[in-house]
Symmetry: C2
Subunit: 444 residues, 2 copies
């Protein structure tokens, strides 16, 4: 009986999702009525319902085409976010809902924590030199290529625009890659460790570039010279945080969990693990890094041995306990990431050409990384591909550029911003299938 | 070695919590810097950190005194919410943070879903008549007593004030009781089923009373007569929802999970369970009931048999998977509930007298419930005590009263509102120890 159902499921998926979208297609009434406290909760509940449906149907549909589930979540997110183009209004509110945004952020924090839990500090140190090399090349190559391309395409723009656009090409957004690696069960492979290590280093390098560019532009506006001291301090803070989190963390964690072990009450081990994750994510944000860097570091530091006492009195391992929380929260991040894609940005022909050039540079630039890996057992192609997505990091860069001005003009114009957005979308969407292909080919 | 630690842990708990509060005692800087996107996420992360620490230390401290953990969460919440009285500023922002509020709401929805999962529809129908009787008596008795007391204490106020205050006394907030029952492992007892059933019916009755009172006041303001039709429609909607959720739900759920079973991708069973819970909570909110009523109904409808296919292919039971999500989210609700307690309301002597009278009536009124239970095997005292807390439902009533006006005056004055708030606080705080005592005495 299940066999019959399974055979008919592909069209069923599509029909069910269409019905689902239609049934709840007038949520705008709810938002109009949302002036009282209860209404806001209902808005978020509706958002969660739509996201859960989209995530599961999207995941199912794409897994049937042998694609990672995350691509389905992104794709159905794009459908919801652009439903107004097809006459379904009311979904736009989910794009800007602050609570859903923060739930999504907590989701990606949990995801990187989970991925961190699967590795140890020792594992990461082993790939450290390779990851450092990959990160540096993966920043320098796209930056230089980006400068060249913007010089060619937009020679009339100022050098600051060129620098800023080139800077947006350097970022690596590790959320998508981490998720794909998890989806296909490869998050403990050496490739995964190099990519994740390089992404953490990239985040520090990105911070340096961003601070430098902003300081250079401030200097151009007559706001004083570039302070090497200030930039060194930014780098020092970030570096100190990573080193401190790992060294102090490894020292403190056993005492922390030994204290937790004697506390009465249920769920202490999970609560303490989340607490450790949130504290490092928070400090990470305070020093200017992405909170996910801290969450990943927290996962690296925590090891099975810390939970030994809890497990020996019959509690489940932490990675088992985190899984249901991830099942709930992680898809919110990816569906919402899809929702942010505005298909109308693809309508402008001129922007599209610029975007195409940027995307090619973005992809090619990161492939240079693979040239610095000399270990033949490592899947070099997978590493280059895993570094492709720019995700929200690129958008944050471009967003800051759009707010900065030289004289009266914004550094990043609306058209340039659109081109960057398209580059981010395309790099994000091409990564899951490419990465899966690179890691799985030759297997089976 | 653990023994030594355990002996020293009581003072250690207190010191650690004091240090914890002190270390993070200047979060206000963060909020000042929270003008960019990242800042809001950091604010919520800090809120989660503070809440997790408070919940675990509070739970530990109170369990050492043989009290339910939830009382510790409430108590540490009160400390955080009123830390400014002791010179620790910056925590006030957590009280009004919208995201934390919604996370708390999702937390209590998950809690009631969990409690619902532990019972079946059949169980609830068995106690149905008793629960109905308990609910009706538990509404009528406090209402009449409330009218009498306000007549005595505030004879100069209009009859509408008396009616409104009396109405706030009828509510039953089941969150606290459900949590205490879970904390002490009694959520499957017959007493638990009667209390929860009565609380659901109470929610419908409360809706009726609120609508009636608001309509009567509108009529007094010359806004037309009381429409019996409109009120009947409100009742019908609520009743139809409960009946519909259970009947249609029971019919649809097997197909829903059979569809889910053939979907590819991980975590489908948990996602579908959450989806069902959120949909019923959402509809429940749309028809004017509390979302937790829908969540509870969803839990009742779902039964082990629906998950049989998933479990037989090696997945865990849903109640196991929900537990970590509850561990994360449920304490947010109770710590935040504590934070909302403003100790300054206790400073006004006259208000305090009125509050004391209301509290006595609130407690005594619900004890009348126990008189209508004739089954000698039932712990009647526990049922009366379990119905005591007014929680957020009482506050919502009073809040609506404060917004309504007769002529130019608000129906519920600021002083009366304070008295209601104190009544809500006291009924909430006395329930956990009393209920635990009533259910556990004679055991051991």
């Amino acid at each position: 009986m299940y066999k019959t159902i399974r055979m008919n499921l592909l069209p069923l998926s599509i029909i069910a999702s269409a019905i689902g979208l239609f049934v709840i297609s007038t949520p705008s009434e709810v938002f109009a009525a949302a002036d009282e406290d209860g209404g806001v909760v209902l808005e978020v509940l509706l958002g969660l319902i739509v996201i859960l449906i989209a995530a599961k149907l999207g995941g199912d549909l794409f897994e049937r085409f042998k694609q990672p589930a995350v691509l389905g979540e992104l794709f159905f997110g794009i459908l919801i976010g652009n439903a107004y183009l097809f006459g379904f209004t009311g979904f736009e509110a989910f794009k800007t809902d602050l609570t859903l945004e923060i739930l999504a952020e907590i989701g990606v924090i949990i995801l990187l924590f989970q991925v961190g839990l699967e590795s140890t500090v020792k594992d990461m140190l082993k790939v450290g030199p390779t990851a450092l090399l990959v990160a540096v090349v993966g920043v320098v190559a796209p930056f230089l290529l980006g400068l060249g391309v913007t010089e060619l395409i937009a020679p009339n723009e100022s050098i600051y625009v060129h620098i800023f656009v080139a800077a947006t090409l350097t970022a690596t957004s590790v959320g998508i890659t981490a998720r794909v690696l998890k989806d296909i069960g490869k998050s403990q492979s050496p490739e995964a460790k190099i990519i994740l290590g390089a992404a953490v280093i990239d985040d520090i390098l990105g911070l340096v570039i961003l601070s430098t560019v902003v300081a250079v532009i401030a200097a151009a506006n007559g706001g004083g010279g570039v302070s090497v001291g200030a930039i060194s301090w930014i780098v020092a803070k970030a570096g100190l945080f990573i080193a401190g989190a790992i060294i102090i963390g490894s020292f403190v964690v056993p005492y922390f969990f030994r204290f937790g072990f004697v506390l009465k009450g249920r769920g202490v081990m999970l609560s303490f693990s989340l607490l450790f994750c949130f504290v490092l994510a928070y400090i990470s944000g305070l020093v200017g890094l992405a909170p996910i860097v801290g969450a990943f570091a927290a996962g690296l530091v925590l090891e099975k041995v810390h939970f030994r006492d809890f497990v020996s009195r019959g509690e489940q391992e932490v990675d088992h306990l985190i899984e249901p929380i991830a099942t709930f929260l992680v898809p919110i991040f990816f569906v919402r990431m899809g929702m942010q894609v505005d298909l109308m940005t693809f309508a402008n022909g001129e922007v599209l050409w610029f975007a195409a050039a940027l995307t090619v540079v973005a992809v090619v630039g990161k492939q240079v990384c693979s040239l610095v890996i000399f270990d033949k057992t490592i899947n070099r192609l997978a590493i280059g591909l895993g570094m492709i997505p720019r995700g929200e990091v690129g958008l944050i860069f471009a967003g800051i550029g759009a707010r900065l001005t030289i004289g009266a003009e914004p550094v990043v114009s609306a058209a340039t911003y659109s081109a960057v957005v398209i580059m981010v979308i395309v790099t994000t969407l091409v990564t899951p299938p490419l990465l899966k292909w690179a890691l799985m080919r030759g297997e089976k």
